[in-house]
């Protein structure tokens, strides 16, 4: 990780951006499932697109497409890959 890159919320990226997960701040009762879907610290991801109404977000993670709401994406911090 480049020391100048402070982690930013996943939701702040633009479509097409690639990044690496640095922190998952989702509340504990929902966190496990997000991790189990493969969104772990250190995992490379790619923002594919935002839904036409602006929410949710489509990501590419570990070779498949996953969709999360901005609400959760705000709590996942990433740095550019």
């Amino acid at each position: 990780m480049n020391p100048t890159d402070t982690p930013a919320p996943l939701s702040s990226l633009n479509p097409g951006a690639k990044a690496i997960v640095r922190e998952v701040r989702i509340p504990v009762q929902h966190r496990a499932r997000i991790l189990e879907m493969g969104l772990l610290v250190g995992t490379p991801i790619e923002i594919v697109r935002f839904a036409p109404l602006g929410d949710p977000i489509e990501l590419k993670v570990r070779g498949y497409h996953l969709s999360l709401r901005r609400h959760e994406a705000d709590q996942i911090l990433v740095t550019p890959a």
Binding site: L53, L68, R69
Partner: protein, 772 residues
């Protein structure tokens, strides 16, 4: 002699092609039912081509991402694998199906299952997609790394299936090789490993019959936050104690027990996939990705979605109307024929009205249900369903619902029954419950005839700008009112009844797939059968009950009284001197009958002919008079009278009350009931009969001479119909889908309460504003 069947269990992630594999293994002859006490689909079938002496059953578990369940579906899958359901035999062989093009996340679950220690094989599905994506998988290497046999497949093309089936047959022929030493795929932090082992030993002593599962169970107990809370009865206090203190020690050692096991497993899975896969071509955009560029496009995506929904809606609304009319006609015809064959009487009435039309009331829903399920099966099997949820989630989440609630709500415009059955695609139990509770507020097709008649009777045909008519606007307003009501109530329920933050959306968007027509039709039929079997019986029963209520008690004097009324009217209208003053009612009617019969009729003076022409035919008139009087006398009629004090503040009289009561069979029954109440008779949904009923309604007056069906009454009554739960079929299906009487009863209470209150507000405010 055949041995007891070998139980093979199919499990895997959603969208891994598990069901496709199941279909080819069992040849689409599965039994579909529910697991005891829950509405989770249970699909089971015999293995095709199995040796009759060694029968094999295949059980298709619901798709699941992990052994720490987040939905009822996942919980059932976990419980079967842990052999916690008494109704399901322990698996002799577990087939874990893995999507080769999405190896990491699929192997995360697969390794969890392998650790359970059942004899397990890996079905590596969709190897063609993986190859297309430029991914090569070393199957021998994978098998060695996992320690279980690997069978490659393209289940959708049937590739690899024969080979696999042979292997399964061989397995069935020589059972007994069942002891497996489970492998572990976790390189846990040392402290965590120690705690897990201690717990494992404790579980082994406590549950000697589940020894094989102990290691996996210990791991889940330590790392899954919810498992202890939801299964307190399963574990003694000593286990809870061990888990709590172990977690405490781990926290002090700086180990996150919630994520340590997940991270360790993904690390191991990543190492395995790195070892056994080679990426040959760089990631070129796949066909699925290109499709998504259009189908989830800001403009095109939404346009296509709206188009598809319009098509589906039109389909359920218009296309289904054709077979529905045929069914209705067939039922009418059959009832009439039975009526003729048996002659008048109670038995005839029970058969033709109660039973035949009751069965008709069930079967008439089939075209809509079949069409909707065909459409849903198409959306699901192609992968578009998750895109629909992706597109609509923003809209639905505003009121606390899920993107997947959209299609059930939309379908409910046609009919709430298929709509409510379609909520099965929603994983979250709470989202599903809220959707079920509000779906019947969408104006269904059964409300349309009610709106039509009331608008024709009560709303003046004023036009604005020469284009938009008041009747059309009123109809639109009723539909909008239903939508606003449904969304508003969903919002309210989310904040009160099923409180708590809605679960996050974790939605996989799987690659698009080509659907197989045979499978779609099969899917549709399976679900429709479930409707016929489960809801059909209740609907039929309640229809017979309602028939009873509107037929009994009988009173022989009714027919007599009706004749007298009729005769009195005839004397009034006919030219003076037509009937001798001393003639009895039946003699008067007999005389009219003779005059009207062309065979016996003699030339009559002009004004008498005039009278005979205006008289609708003595048989019809007396039948209408009698059936009207009988209905007013029946239990239903009495209930209508009994509830009059309740509905008077809404401006309704007891005759409308009878209509409201009868509407519980189905809302459109209001129309035919009103035609019986007002002796119009023979309502057949045609334009003329709607117009004649509307005309009759307009002529109705209160004792003080004021008109009953004013615009205000019409609007009030329609508002009542928008909100009231007046459909036993919906009640029956909600009972089935929620598995308790609690929710349907609550639904009746809240909807009827809402209907009454809003109708009251409309009527009283309307009066204050000077409307009559």
């Amino acid at each position: 002699m055949p041995t007891s069947p070998i139980q093979i269990v199919l499990t895997g992630n959603p969208n891994c092609g598990k069901t496709t594999l199941f279909n080819v293994l069992t040849g689409l002859r599965a039994k579909v039912g529910n697991y005891a006490g829950v509405t989770v689909e249970r699909k089971e079938g015999a293995l095709l081509g199995a040796d009759p002496n060694h029968p094999v059953t295949v059980l298709d578990l619901p798709g699941t991402y992990s052994l720490s369940p987040q939905s009822l579906d996942e919980q059932i899958a976990r419980d079967v694998l842990f052999h916690r359901l008494t109704e399901v035999a322990p698996p002799d062989l577990v087939v874990v199906v893995v999507d080769a093009s999405n190896l990491q996340r699929n192997l995360y679950y697969a390794t969890q299952v392998i650790e359970l220690g059942h004899p397990t094989v890996l079905a590596l599905n969709m190897v063609d997609v993986a190859t297309e994506n430029g991914l090569e998988i070393d199957q021998k290497g994978l098998s060695a790394a996992l320690g279980i046999p690997v069978f490659p497949f393209v289940a959708s093309q049937g590739e690899g299936v024969e080979h696999f089936r042979r292997a399964l047959r061989e397995f069935a022929a020589r059972p007994g090789t069942k002891t497996v030493i489970p492998r572990e795929f976790n390189e846990l932090p040392e402290t965590f490993g120690r705690e897990a082992q201690a717990l494992e030993r404790q579980l082994e002593t406590l549950f000697p019959n589940r020894q094989r599962l102990a290691a996996a169970e210990a791991l889940l107990l330590l790392s899954d936050d919810q498992v202890l809370q939801s299964h307190q009865a399963l574990y003694p206090a000593s286990v809870v104690e061990t888990v709590t203190s172990a977690r405490h020690r781990l926290e002090q050692a700086g180990v996150d027990w919630r994520s340590a096991a997940i991270e360790a497993r993904y690390a191991r899975v990543f190492a395995i996939t790195e070892h056994v896969t080679t990426q040959t071509v760089s990631d070129e955009e796949s066909l699925s990705d290109r499709l998504d560029r259009i189908l989830t496009h800001r403009i095109w995506g939404l346009a296509i979605f709206v188009g598809l929904m319009a098509l589906m809606f039109q389909g359920i609304f218009t296309l289904a109307a054709i077979p529905m009319d045929l069914i209705e006609q067939g039922v009418e015809g059959l009832a009439a024929r039975v009526g003729e064959a048996l002659g008048p009487g109670d038995l005839q009435d029970l058969l033709s009205v109660g039973i035949i039309q009751g069965v008709g009331a069930v079967v008439v829903f089939l075209p809509q249900i079949c069409l909707l399920f065909l459409f849903i099966a198409l959306l699901e099997d192609t992968g578009y369903m998750s895109r629909a949820a992706f597109l609509m989630d923003r809209l639905m989440s505003r009121v606390g619902l899920h993107g997947k609630s959209f299609i059930p709500m939309l379908s409910s415009f046609a009919c709430a029954i298929p709509g409510i059955m379609a909520t099965r695609t929603i994983e979250s139990r709470r989202d599903r419950l809220v959707t079920i509770l509000v779906a019947p507020l969408m104006s269904c097709s059964a409300r349309l005839p009610v709106y039509t008649v009331l608008i024709a009777a009560c709303i003046p045909n004023t036009r604005y700008l020469g284009l938009i008519g008041l009747p059309g606007l009123t109809l639109l307003a009723m539909y909008l009112l239903g939508i606003v009501g449904a969304l508003g109530m969903a919002w309210l329920f989310r904040r009160t009844l099923v409180k708590g933050e809605p679960p996050p959306l974790i939605l996989e968007l799987p690659p698009y797939k080509r659907p197989v027509l045979k499978v779609l039709v099969h899917h549709m039929w399976d679900r429709s059968k479930l409707f016929l079997r489960r809801a059909g019986t209740v609907i039929l029963g309640i229809n017979i009950l309602l028939w009873f209520l509107s037929t009994y008690p009988k009173d022989p004097s009714i027919a007599e009284k009706a004749q007298e009324t009729l005769a009195a009217t005839a004397r009034d209208k006919a030219p003076t001197g037509t009937f001798p003053p001393e003639a009895t009612a039946s003699e008067v009617l007999e005389q009219i009958r003779t005059l009207q019969d062309p065979k016996t009729s003699t030339a009559a003076p002009g004004d008498l002919t005039e009278f005979l022409k205006s008289w609708p035919g003595i048989e019809t008139a007396s039948a209408q008079e009698v059936s009207g009087a009988e209905l007013r006398h029946s239990f239903a009629g009495r209930v209508g009278r009994a509830i009059e004090p309740l509905i008077r503040p809404l401006g309704f009289d007891w005759k409308i009350g009878i209509g409201l009561v009868a509407s519980f069979a189905a809302r459109e029954v209001f129309v035919s009931t009103m035609s019986v109440v007002y002796n119009v008779g023979g309502y057949d949904e045609s334009e003329e009969s709607t117009a004649s009923l509307a005309e009759t309604l307009r002529q109705q007056t209160r004792p003080d001479g004021s008109q009953i069906y004013t615009p205000l009454t019409g609007i009030t009554l329609m508002v009542f119909y928008v909100f009231a739960m007046q459909c036993v079929s919906t009640v029956a299906i909600v009972r089935r889908e929620t598995n308790s009487w609690r929710w349907p009863l609550f639904q009746i209470a809240y909807m009827t309460g809402l209907a009454w209150t809003l109708a009251l507000v409309v009527f009283q405010v309307g009066r204050l504003l000077g409307f009559e």
